[in-house]
């Protein structure tokens, strides 16, 4: 399975990198031609080519420039024994990740609680569920700046306001997935619990909760990706000094494209790692519970 996929994936990744290099040459060449024209020199394409890969502030940095920048701000920092200095991307990633994780845990708990309420109470199902869905058609990230500023005005700064945004973004997939999951036991099984004269609590722990776990992990994967976006956007409006979002903002103020790209790639790596981690935990739990494949 994995081996048959490996080759096509490598092909697509190679294609993306090739397009990236071509784009870097194409977009950065204008600058080189212009500066050559200013110096009254003729410049050939063969001369321009290497220069487009090594500009200080390129329009589009070449992949290896970004890789070097990432290595300089992570690996080298570890080698010098200062992995948590303010210049290191590890520090900034940690700031963002801690907000992400806190918000994700809060959002997941809120989502599960809401789903339990919705499944067990008709009133809640009919009155809350439509609003949960409506709340997601609202571009909630737009109110991120307000949440940050308002919470700062009542003396809440740092980790918590960012986590609130992450929480808001991650509770929705969990609620929807868990409502589906908690309702997934078959009528036969529910009837069986009924013949055992099981209380609602017993039915919940012994039937509903176990059968909802595959749904929980599927929606947690979506939720944690959304949490990371929330934490990054939460760092934008206040001019935060640390975190991946702050690196993006600082990079865009000072035209440091390499810095923007390295923060972006690192955010992508974080997202990939988090989603994979949740997926692995989910697989392991599902296997122990005897569920063969996660259903959507």
């Amino acid at each position: 399975m994995i081996r048959s996929r490996l080759f096509p994936i490598t092909a697509v990744v190679t294609l993306i990198i090739a397009v990236w290099y071509a784009g870097a040459v194409f977009l950065n060449a204008t600058f080189e031609y212009q500066s050559a024209a200013r110096a009254d020199q003729q410049i050939t394409f063969a001369e321009v080519l290497p220069k487009t890969m090594a500009q200080e502030r390129p329009v589009l940095p070449a992949p290896h420039q970004v890789a070097q920048e990432i290595w300089k701000t992570t690996g080298e920092m570890i080698q010098r024994g200062r992995p948590f200095s303010k210049r290191s991307l590890i520090y900034h990633s940690w700031v963002t990740l801690s907000a992400t994780l806190l918000g994700f845990v809060m959002g997941t708990l809120l989502g599960i609680l809401l789903a339990i309420g919705i499944v067990h109470s008709r009133v809640m199902a009919k009155s809350v569920m439509p609003w949960v869905i409506t709340s997601q058609t609202i571009p909630i990230l737009a109110i991120a700046p307000m949440i940050i500023v308002v919470l700062a005005s009542v003396g809440m700064t740092g980790l918590l306001p960012k986590s609130f945004i992450s929480m808001y973004l991650s509770f929705f997939p969990v609620t929807v997935g868990m409502v589906k999951g908690l309702r997934s036991p078959e009528v036969m099984h529910m009837d069986l619990m009924h013949t055992y004269s099981a209380s609602p609590v017993q039915t919940f722990w012994k039937l509903r909760w176990p059968s909802s776990l595959p749904y929980l992990f599927t929606s947690m994967k979506i939720g944690i990706a959304a949490s990371l976006v929330g934490a990054i956007v939460g760092e934008l409006p206040t001019g935060a000094v640390s975190g991946l979002g702050a690196r993006l903002l600082a990079g865009s103020y000072y035209g440091q494209t390499v810095q923007i790209w390295s923060a972006l790639i690192l955010a992508a790596i974080c997202a990939g790692l988090l989603v994979t981690l949740i997926g692995m935990i989910g697989d392991r739990v599902n296997k122990r519970m005897g569920i063969r494949e996660a259903t959507n």
Partner: protein, 289 residues
């Protein structure tokens, strides 16, 4: 306590609404229209109760408007600044979101149809597309602002990139959704590739495509607004939010959010209606009973 009467009145209204909802939810009825009405009335009543409670608490306890303005103040602000809100709406929604959304969805769709021809590329594109859909793509906003300038073109570019991948992944998945039996049937008809695509596989892919359209309608608005945080001309919903929050005009921010919420919900509703018309055959569209 500034207006205890108002606070008490609102709490009574909230309790009454809660009680009414409990009664409404327990009504069993055979009539289709009646049950539809009940299902509409309950969330509306719930929403009204929340707004009443919001009004009562902010006015009753005298919460400073910088933290949370009461709904009535927000409404006054909306009414009094319609021209400004409209120009923001035109700049962000009609220019950036709509053009970016249409281009991004079309590109994603066309790429998916192309990729679908080759199992090799399909196997490569799907995992990568799924991964990219989980990435914080919104981060490319500063880059796009550098490339395409401050005006709406850069926002549309962000929207294109954000909407491209969900559309690609969903369409590729949808084109595989047609069953083997139906495909074999098309084969026995000696249908060409194009015919079986148009007559069988695209219609079968429609639920997936509409799913992507729905996801994208929210993503597009978010993308355009957040991209405006990185630099805009002095108009636009994202600009309004970041500028007014700097001046602590929280009611103006809420007014803009109201417009954004309205735009988001309406476009979502429009797509849902279209879906109902196009995929009327799908099991999820059948009556619940």
């Amino acid at each position: 306590m500034q207006e205890p009467g108002l606070l008490i009145g609102c709490i009574i209204f909230w309790l009454a609404a809660w009680y009414a909802n409990t009664r409404l939810a327990s009504i069993e009825t055979r009539s289709r229209t009646l049950s539809l009405l009940i299902n509409l009335a309950i969330p509306i009543l719930f929403g009204a109760a929340i707004i009443a409670l919001w009004e009562g608490i902010t006015r009753g306890f005298g919460v400073p408007p910088v933290i949370l303005p009461p709904p009535s103040a927000i409404w006054e602000r909306i009414i009094s600044s319609i021209p400004m809100l409209w120009s923001d709406f035109v700049q962000t929604y009609l220019k950036a979101v709509v053009s970016g959304y249409v281009m991004g969805c079309t590109l994603g769709f066309l790429t998916a149809v192309l990729v679908d021809r080759s199992p090799f590329w399909k196997a490569g594109v799907m995992p990568i597309g799924n991964l990219v859909s989980a990435l914080p793509i919104i981060g490319i906003a500063p880059i796009m602002v550098m490339w395409f300038g401050f005006d709406w073109q850069s926002k549309a570019a962000v929207v294109i990139v954000m909407t491209f991948f969900p559309m690609l992944v969903n369409t590729v998945a949808g084109l595989n959704a047609a069953g083997h039996m139906e495909r074999d049937l098309m084969h026995t008809y000696a249908a060409t590739r194009g015919q079986s695509l148009l007559k069988l596989r695209l219609p079968a892919a429609m639920p997936f495509i509409f799913n992507a359209l729905k996801i994208n309608s929210t993503l597009a608005l978010i993308g355009a607004i957040v991209a405006e945080f990185f630099g805009t001309p002095i108009v636009g919903m994202g600009f309004r939010i970041s500028a007014e929050i700097g001046r602590l005009n929280v009611d103006m921010v809420w007014a803009t959010i109201f417009v954004a919420a309205l735009a988001g919900s309406l476009s979502y509703g429009l797509i849902a209606l279209l879906e109902r018309a196009v995929t009327f055959w799908h099991p999820s569209m059948r009556s619940q009973r």
